[in-house]
Amino acid sequence: MNEALISPFNITHPTTIQTPLYTYRALLSRFDPSGRFVGVGTFDGSAYIYDLDTRAPVRTLDGHVKNITSLDWSRHSRYVLTSSKDWNVIIWDLSSTCDPPQRLATIRLDAPVSWASFHPRNSQIILILTSTGEVYLQDLRPSYRERFELCEPQEEGEDEESGRRAAMTVARFDPSGKQIFVGTSSGHILVFNTRTRIMVGRHKTGGGTMKGFEFAKSGRRLLTNSSDRTLRQYNLPTYPQPGEGVLETDLEPTHRFNDPITKTAWNAMSYSPDGEWLAGGSADPASHKIYIWDISNDGQFTAALDGGREQLLHLHVRTLEALHLWHPSKSAIVSTALHGNIFLWHSPNPERWGAFAGGFEEVDENVEYEEKEDEFDIEDEEEIHKRKMKAEEEDVDVDAISDETHQKPQFLPQENEDDEWADLEPDDDCTSWKMKIILEASDSLP
């Protein structure tokens, strides 16, 4: 709503720390899809939900007994998933009216969980990666209830030695949820169809063990983090329908991002929501540095944000909703530092002192003022009044909200049978759910 009153000439990426959020030994922090909340996972197994309006924790997710390894939000932020080294994945329902919120499900694995996420269309389908290098697709829908292990099919004629499976080190849904991308310790990317669990693609890449994947919103670009300390951006091909063979190609990166001088490794990376720029979090133990590259400008290095001396563990980029309504490109970064601080980065608007004076316009440079023809004419007051009244006859619309294009659709369009499959037995995650405000016990009461 504040768009028209805020100057549009701003840098699109965040430049300064707006607020630190103080937590006890945070490991990771993620914005929810609407940008109203931040989910924080900590070293001792608790997770917290912070309200960005008040910058205070509003919910405590107490369920794990070891490190939180990942946290994910359902598409309308109602459900939160946490995975932990204690072999569990827990799904929380934030619409419950108590704190800590109700647990919707607990999924127990046979090994520490290193990563888990919701299907982008249905929070009852969950992708889980264990630290032993296995990937599971867990379907919690009542009539599909199953856990399926994703495996690279063995080709005939391969001998025992070369056929030994490489451990899976990364697993992600693509933004449509149609495919699952799995990275292995041998530097391969395996692509599975989510519905049929059949492998549709296998790519060989350089760079060694895969450490992370990140998709641009369109799903056509994939960014990988590998053990050779380089981020690589690939353009993805179109994959065949499941069962119609496997696309086997060597992918060549369109861009490589690294720090040529210090050769720092990367702990985290995130595209901006519009895909215009990329943020990489350096793993340098002595600094909290975020590198920004301008993707729309051929991946040119733009800025390095310095957040002090605590090592960066995790970062996430998101558009904030309040600003989003008017500033689709205005984003915020949340980064997690080693000793528990969480930094919110934003691009500040300069204070406009002229706004304090009524009818005052600020101009950037001197303008020769041209007096209007009738500016100092003495006019009959009655005439002025009449003219004003005439101008007021025009109808005004006090109800219609013009920015409806920004409203997110409740249901995503179904484009193919994969989407249809994912939408069967939908979850209760709708835009209309509300998080109840729970008042803290007050000391001032008698």
């Binding site: 709503m1 504040n2 028209a4 009153l5 805020i6 109203r36 309200d51 309006d53 008040t54 910058r55 205070a56 509003v58 309040a322 600003l323 309504l325 008017w326 500040p348 608007n349 204070e351 406009r352 706004a355 304090f356 004076a357 009524g358 009818g359 005052f360 004003k388 009244m389 101008a391 007021e392 025009e394 109808d395 005004v396 619309d397 006090v398 109800d399 219609a400 909200i401 013009s402 509300k434 998080m435 109840k436 405000i437 729970i438 008042l439 803290e440 007050s442 001032s444 009461l445």
Partner: protein
């Protein structure tokens, strides 16, 4: 039966609840209200609610339209059934008169602003006070929730606007907003903007996240501002000023697009409302110091109806969120609330 005797009843130490009990029986059709233009009168007085024994400062319908909250100089907050006029409960706790009340979006909490320099939050479920927000250094005059109801904004005689974290009861921001008492403050429909107005005659629009001033609207004559609120789509602000005028401003262009006159507003901060219902006939409702309330057609700016019946200045008005019900309340000499209904009101069955 008239309300003055009610006031006396209360003065003779009958517990307020009992007064409420008797007051509930006063549901009368007012015969004097049938003036010359009776045939065109859309709103007819339906109920008189008495219970307050001093001036009533604020009236608010709950977001679902089932309850009506009122506050007064008698330090009390009363909750009434919006359809039957039955008194539901009374909240006591403020040490001085209460100037404003505001409902949270879910209708579970009510915030109140008082001359005892505090804002209190009352729970409908627990039926008690749950939080006291302290920080204002003088009388608190106005209060409102944001749409998510995690923030409160308040203004008062210390000339500041304060933004509060509701859950923790802490001040988040203090905006040095005005150079005179702040008379009204509220959020827009998505909570990104705050509008405030003051006795210094200025209307200011603030960015709620950063607390930056984005715009100031000032009329040529700089009259004292009584009340301000955003239109439903937040494209306009409706401002009543103490030159007996109500204006609808397009704040993007700083242009006044509608002017409403006819009522009297010279001394008090009178409340002004848009009609709450979604019907096509939109109107503006305001109290007046000539003991009446005025209803204007929003587009034509013509007075549609004058609501007569009160025997003192009408300070507070409220419009129902879904029905075309108007509530009005007046000052010391007649501390009653009156509910005005058109014939079209359908009371939802519960």
């Amino acid at each position: 039966m008239n309300s003055e005797t009610q006031g006396k009843d209360l003065a003779t130490n009958i517990p307020p609840t009992q007064v409420d009990g008797t007051a509930s029986d006063i549901k009368m059709q007012d015969p004097e209200n049938q003036s010359q233009e009776a045939s065109q009168d859309r709103f007819k007085m339906r109920f008189i609610l008495s219970g307050h024994n001093r001036a009533i400062s604020s009236l608010k319908f709950s977001p679902d339209g089932t309850l009506l909250a009122s506050s007064g100089a008698d330090k009390l907050i009363k909750i009434w059934d919006a359809y039957s006029g039955e008194p539901m409960r009374t909240f006591e706790g403020h040490k001085e008169g209460v100037s404003d009340v505001a409902w949270s979006t879910d209708g579970e909490y009510l915030a109140s602003a008082s001359d005892d320099k505090s804002v209190k939050i009352w729970s409908m479920k627990l039926n008690t006070e749950v939080k006291t927000l302290l920080g204002h250094t003088s009388f608190v005059f106005c209060v409102n929730y944001n749409p998510r109801s995690n923030l409160l904004v308040s203004g008062g005689f210390d000339e500041t606007v304060r933004v509060w974290d509701v859950a923790r009861g802490m001040v988040l921001k203090v905006l040095p907003a005005h150079s005179d008492p702040v008379t009204a403050v509220s959020f827009n429909h998505d909570g990104t903007l705050i509008v405030s107005c003051s006795m210094d005659g200025l209307i200011r629009i603030w960015d709620s996240e950063s607390g930056q001033c984005l715009k100031t609207i000032v009329d040529d004559d700089n009259p004292i501002c009584s009340h301000v609120k955003f239109s439903a789509n937040s494209r306009f602000v409706l401002v009543s000023t103490q030159d007996s005028t109500i204006r609808l401003w397009d704040y993007h262009t700083s242009r006044c697009v509608k002017t409403y006159t006819g009522h009297v507003n010279r001394i008090y901060c009178l409340c002004v409302c848009f009609s709450g219902s979604n019907s096509k006939s939109k109107y503006i409702v305001s109290g007046s110091e000539d003991n009446k309330a005025y209803v204007w057609n929003l587009q034509t700016r013509k007075v549609m109806q004058v609501l007569e019946g009160h025997r003192d200045a009408v300070l507070a008005v409220a419009t129902h969120p879904t029905q075309e019900i108007i509530a009005t309340a007046s000052m010391e000499k007649d501390p009653t609330i009156r509910l005005w209904w058109p014939d079209t009101v359908v009371v939802p069955s519960t």
